[in-house]
Amino acid sequence: MNYVIENKNAIIRRVLFVLILLVTAALQGTAGLFPTPGNIGVFLLIPAAVIISMFERGIPGLLLGTFAGLLWDTYTTGFGFNAIYMTIIAFGAWGLIHYLMRNNLSTAMLICSVSLLLYILLYWLWNYVFKGYGTAWQVLIKYYLPTFLYSVVFIPLIYLLIRTVMKNFR
């Protein structure tokens, strides 16, 4: 009986996680749907995928991370970079929590911030530095770092939301 309830809860929880990822992708990718002061961007999918992986078991967390990346790819011109990146960070986040760290707000802030910063730096290197644009530093300082800081602000909210789902449908 307990197994049936557990199984039902796991299904509901994962459906809710998929919905959270869909809403997050829509908020991130639709102009005017989420407030972005000073024309900066916001990356909500990375914290969402990382925190889901921290709470979920390895394989479902990994698959949800890949799904988040594929969703992000539908908004971009790249040919699958986001899916690859999100799969790696989702698996990495699960591995860190499973083997090395505790799952709490501080570790979530740390893992999400590092994942966001790494993404931004990779994106910036690929799209500005390697193309030899002279103003690459300005772009990093005026756009991508404020975007990073603005995204970090929402990590606790996303953490609380996912933890609530997890607690109710464990």
């Binding site: 869909l22 639709t30 890949t66 908004y75 193309k131």
Partner: protein, 284 residues
């Protein structure tokens, strides 16, 4: 560590990574610049993107009001409801008006160029990481759209299709430094290619480099596509010259161009799926 590498989770991770990398290679080799996995996800969830785009449109058209006192709440609510109805009608009217303007320009263009074939599209999302205004349209391969098809708004050039899936495509605007458009200045006939830099792009500007220091191009001049290269048809309006600047890298000058389209305000555009002389198009 060995236990971790031998775990089922790691094996599944390795399989997924291999599949995603294979998808990326396939995307590059098929010249659609979209992985088959992304294509599948976009096919399934494109409705969500359309829904969120519509919701964002509604939100931008509405305002939030606060009730002043409890005694007036009922009356205010009644008036608000009437106002919301009126505003809803007004939004519909404004939408229809802007669409009508677009279709009028389109009709004029269609009369001038019988060979043009179009797909009318709506913008459903934008890439948060991209500073250059890339956006996603609600139509794709099944509507005849291909990579490198020009995207226009009336007579004005917006950009080109950068990647395409079955049901949607991604557009790079002329504010992206990777986009180069062969162009000429209408009054003097001086030609070159219009491109931009990240710095100019942030200000919403492009440039026409390689002009002589003694160039006759001046502020107010109109810059159009020249049709060279077969990517864009001739005579689409790119923008207006706002000034001439000296190039720091060589002895030439460049014209600063303000595009005629406000990219952030675009809702609907046309993709030119065929025109006479298009590169790679079968003669019709």
């Amino acid at each position: 560590m060995r236990r971790f590498v031998k775990s089922i989770g790691f094996k599944i991770f390795a399989v997924i990574m291999a599949a995603l990398v294979f998808g990326a290679v396939l995307a590059a080799t098929t010249h659609k610049y979209t992985s088959p996995f992304t294509s599948a996800v976009s096919f399934i969830f494109s409705r969500v993107q359309r829904l969120s785009a519509r919701l964002a449109e509604r939100l931008s058209d509405s305002e939030i009001y606060f009730k002043s006192s409890a005694s007036m709440a009922e009356r205010v609510s009644e008036l608000e409801s009437q106002l919301a109805d009126a505003r809803g009608q007004l939004v519909g009217y404004e939408d229809a008006k802007s669409k009508l303007a677009l279709y009028e320009e389109f009709l004029e263009l269609k009369k001038e160029h019988n060979d043009y074939k179009f797909a009318s599209c709506s913008i459903i999302s934008r890439d948060a990481a991209d500073l250059f205004g890339s956006f996603v349209l609600n139509k794709g391969e099944v509507h005849g759209i291909k990579v490198n098809d020009p995207v226009i708004y009336g007579k004005y050039l917006v950009g080109l299709v950068a990647s395409v899936t079955k049901t949607q495509c991604t557009v790079r605007t002329i504010l992206n430094p990777d986009v180069n458009v062969s162009a000429y200045e209408v009054r003097t006939g001086e030609s070159g290619f219009v491109t931009t830099t990240p710095e100019l792009s942030r200000k919403g500007l492009c440039r026409l480099p390689g002009l002589d220091r003694t160039t006759a191009v001046s502020a107010g001049g109109l810059v159009c596509t020249s049709g060279v290269g077969g990517i864009y048809p001739r005579d689409l309006i790119i923008g207006q010259v706002t000034g001439i600047e000296n190039d720091n890298e060589n002895i030439s000058t460049y014209a600063v161009i303000a595009p005629s389209v406000r990219f952030s305000e675009l809702k609907d555009v046309f993709v030119l799926t065929y025109f006479y002389g298009q590169e790679g198009a079968a003669g019709e």
